[in-house]
Symmetry: D2
Subunit: 374 residues, 4 copies
């Protein structure tokens, strides 16, 4: 099967997530990066493209979309890895030309943009994949499969948290700068940057949907314009309850996304920083440590896993799994066939839910943490 020709928007020299997407796209050798508009500054776009040895370098994403769509061997998919406020405009250009979009989260910086982008996607034949990368971890898939199989029974309580500490003080480097600027990140700070991951992970594993939430958001660092800590109570459709905590001011936490799900028959626990383990307790029995590709792990995890148990896979492999799912979907799309049932990736609807989540958090917090619907 020929590798999928890929373009990239954003991800220039000093970016973080662009490099992650590039590695992720390479790991399973199903994509080939051949074009890029890597920066909104033309000189930087040029320099960054040359540094990567890209065959085709563009100054802006629109020019890239137009030309690549016309090329005989133009890109079949594009990765959009810019700051949030650019997602909408960029994605729209590629969708309208039938080029598949792999877009970083959150979907957009405003709810209005998110809704428009959903429409753009619905009008397009192209696929839209959102990189809520944590759903690509094998043991997250394992957890979802176990919930689906009823192994923990009816879900009652979901505790999800995503603390970090890198914004504990006022920071001015690039990654911090745009993420704390509402014009570029959107109205949510920690809620948008990481809270959406937590929200998405909770929904993915449990199959539940948040009906309403009450959020108490804070910007603890003086002068910060967006929240750096969010406390959120969740009510899921069907009656389950949850708590979500996201923070960027919690010293000692690097990237400590963690989820615990409790049903009337058992409990599950998974932590992103030690991702190869899933802790499972059937009620009344000892807790089990299920390991990636090890005893107790099933097909859903094995599909997402490359190497034997005890040989840890990490963040990049989990991210690569989203790319591999995208590749499966794109290849099926090429042939006009249906995507296999086990192929799962976050969709534009998940993205819309994420932006609704941010929007609801901000609205609730502005109303003294009143309950608001998503």
């Amino acid at each position: 099967m020929a590798r999928i020709k890929l373009g990239m928007v954003g991800g220039g020299n000093d970016a973080f997530i662009g490099g992650v997407h590039r590695i992720a796209s390479r790991i399973d050798d199903r994509f080939e990066l051949v074009a890029g508009a890597l920066s909104s500054t033309p000189e930087k776009a040029q320099a960054s493209g040359e540094a990567l040895g890209l065959p085709r370098i563009y100054d802006d994403f629109k020019a890239m979309a137009i030309r690549e769509a016309r090329l005989k061997n133009g890109i079949e998919a594009v990765s959009i890895v810019t700051p949030n406020h650019v997602h909408y405009a960029a994605a729209r250009e590629f969708l309208k030309r039938g080029i598949h979009v792999i877009c970083d989260k959150p979907l957009t910086s405003t709810l209005a943009d998110a809704k428009k982008l959903v429409k753009a996607a619905e009008s397009s034949d192209a696929l839209f994949v959102l990189t809520h990368n944590y759903t690509g971890y094998p043991m997250v898939r394992q957890a979802k499969a176990m919930v689906d199989a009823g192994e923990i029974g009816t879900i009652r309580v979901v505790q999800v948290e995503y603390p970090q500490d890198w914004l504990t003080q006022d920071e001015t480097f690039k990654q911090a700068e745009w993420r704390t600027d509402p014009a570029r990140s959107g109205a949510g700070g920690s809620t948008g940057d990481i809270g959406t991951h937590a929200h998405n992970l909770a929904c993915f594993i449990t199959g539940l949907e948040v009906e309403s939430l009450a959020a108490d958001l804070d910007a603890f660092v003086p002068g910060r314009q967006v929240d750096d800590n969010g406390h959120v109570m969740l009510r899921f459709k069907g009656g389950a309850k949850g708590m979500l905590w996201c923070s960027q001011v919690a010293p000692g936490n690097e990237n400590a996304l963690r989820i615990r799900v409790y049903g009337d028959k058992g409990g599950l626990e998974w932590a992103q920083e030690d991702p190869n383990y899933l802790w499972y307790t059937p009620f009344g029995e000892p807790t089990r440590k299920i390991t990636r590709n090890g005893a107790g792990a099933g097909d859903a995890a094995a599909r997402m896993s490359r190497i034997p148990p005890g040989h840890p896979e990490g963040y990049l492999e989990g991210f690569a799994n989203i790319y591999s799912e995208a590749a499966d979907a794109i290849e099926a799309h090429r042939g006009g066939g249906a995507v296999a049932a086990e192929v799962m990736y976050p969709t534009i609807q998940d993205g819309l839910q994420g932006v609704r989540f941010i929007d609801a958090c901000v609205r609730s917090s502005a109303r003294n943490a009143a309950w608001v619907s998503l």
Copy 2:
């Protein structure tokens, strides 16, 4: 120094916490149990007292209070370890006769009783010690000392949780039975039984007071009359924020009280099930594992510790520390002197705050998790 003559109310043969109090009172050899009214059922009171070889056995606590107060070598202190609804009436009898009271938590089953008991205590010369035993753990003392010394700076976020799983299903044994009966436990279920511990621990370590809270309480087990899961958002006086989760329906959690405190200079983490460790992160430096009596632990922890690091102390030793603090206070009281500054035990005011916490949770939850003051 002669051992303190101790009586006990409650704690008969099939009780849990009575046995804990008895061991705790023995560990440091400063108390001697000489009298008891161990059950509200006279035959059981008699049988339980005989099983323990008690010198003086009573059918009811009032008779015990009256007689012991008149005896030349009557009890100097009494431990009250009954179900919650009995605390008030029992404590009052001893306080009014100048016998020191060591009482299990929560203080009472209603806020009205709590307020009356505070008055009774204020009118008495006797001491009142509430066994929020988790404040007796050496590493909890270490955490408090570090907060007091400013080592984590100004506190911003407090995450405290206390999940258990023993009430995941409908249970009928004695421990479960009275704890799920609002007439005996009070209006709070998990909030009263364990949420108060979490609340107390958060306040003890941080020195902060909860100003208001928003609580979403559930009784997930069909037919249960009190909450078995509580999600609570906290606002502390001074601006810190917190989340508190208590649950008795979270499979895989035995007694998983855990607290994390984050300030602008650092973070602390402590877990009751692994109580000999305190995890400390000065912002921007590696996390340190401070161990009981080990390097990095200071005087406040050493006072509460009997044996070298690496020789784990546990729940009973932490509980015994409350008894030892009580003994220090009682001995100082004997001589009419002041209690040394480092002696710390939960007071009746802490108990009142605990009952206010339960009351606020129940009121808030009844009003759709609106914010209520304590």
Copy 3:
């Protein structure tokens, strides 16, 4: 049942293990300390006895043995908690007068003394209990019961280690001083002080006996006269193999006794510093976390446990379990009846094996780590 009258030899004011024995004897309220010869220095013996409020204080153990044996309510048992070289002479005096002996480990400081003490015990009607306290931990009992029940199959490999760091540098305080003096501790340093615990634990859990060993001992700290690090390869009767490591110069290890046992059907792992957990892996299945008094733990552990799972018990409770086993045995002995089958405590034969172990380590190391029989 009346409490057992207990005496103590050694354990004066600045001792460590004496205090541990006293707490251990109190926890379950089955002993009453009424006499002591707490130091070899008469003034200190007197002062230490007074500090504890002992009814009968002696200057030396022989006088105590003689008098207590004649008293109507004299001691029924004695705890010997002196430095090693005193064990033999002290134990002999009590054994010959029919007073039960509870003795700290290692049994004696020389193999010759150990053999003589075995004879003395065989000639006496009194019981002899050696405080290899780690065999009192509930999860150690659980491990033994699982091995006995065949849950890990035929044992192949035993990895046991006991690293500490408190003698990393040259130390002069009392605990360090006698333990590094071969005249008082015996020829083994770390091997005698902690290696014997590791050896005993391995034999206790597996039911196996060491046939021969090869030991490479070192005294890394300049001027130290006994080993502070021991590397030992073990061959068990029946074909299992093992490694034993003991060290007092391993920074970061406080009291890190740990054992792993592997059979052809499964594996077990237990660590003293986190003693409430036993990790069990049936081959081909996920690892299980069995907790004290929790799901998966059986009767052998429950017998040794006081409080519910999640409420950690520690070193003192494990030590107290040896005292409770001794109390069971002493009470059975009183009535002339047999000790119940489930009562287990380390015997003088275990003690002899421990001294053989030390002796073998020293002999092997002197012969360039040649294999020697025990």
Copy 4:
């Protein structure tokens, strides 16, 4: 910089390590796999090459070496990932033609082959890189840098172990089959397959060399022709001592390589299954958790790390680091310049030491675990 043209010998469809090498070579985008002789069976070589879409497919490695050396754009380096007994013959063909060799471990299946291969490498201008991949983990680099900087002082004790459980029973699948056949794996079983990794890791981090060892090897599974468990005592040049344990019959251990190093100033601990952490204890201070790219980690680790702390990197990234070091060396070699000092990869001398280690283990064990020199 143009990507390095790479060939591969071995690594056909049902191999494990070939796929690992391919991913590792891709992650940092510095190699391009263009040729392969992926199996000793021509049909399988062809089919496997086609499955990977290789431009040039060969039936055997010699034909590949001859032709690629003549091609204008032939491969510049070759990865040899066959069973051990083929390493020598294959590597020789490429070395003699000036093609750089990246070879899996152990170097060869016999010591005689290893010595001949060292000579072949010395006669060649080509580089030789041995994939002792665990030395590529960032926190292993961190550990080495800390030892080099004297942070733990003079090393006294090294405890290294590598238990697995996949050969607990008799297995017949391909990975198990050749690894338990001495004709293909060499005389060492677990010692060769994983013991060499443990030996290499200990030497790499400490900078010490093993002077002599005493090994007790077993084949616990009936009928197994090579050891499946090895107990080894180590004496390092300069006086440090160590223990090495390797096992493939230890249920509950997936790939549990772990090392602990103790000096007179501190200790270090690292575990392959949780590779992003390094535990460091300066003697007399609390243990610190140093994290990859986090606070406390230095340049040596940062060079080997792609993403921020808290975003776990794993086995494949560590393996890729060896490929990146190889790429640095190859690029320096192209220009005739010296390789930068910080570039480190396992050399053919390390490989020779590894085979000497296996040989010494086997010789020692045959002589009742006598001490033998390497």
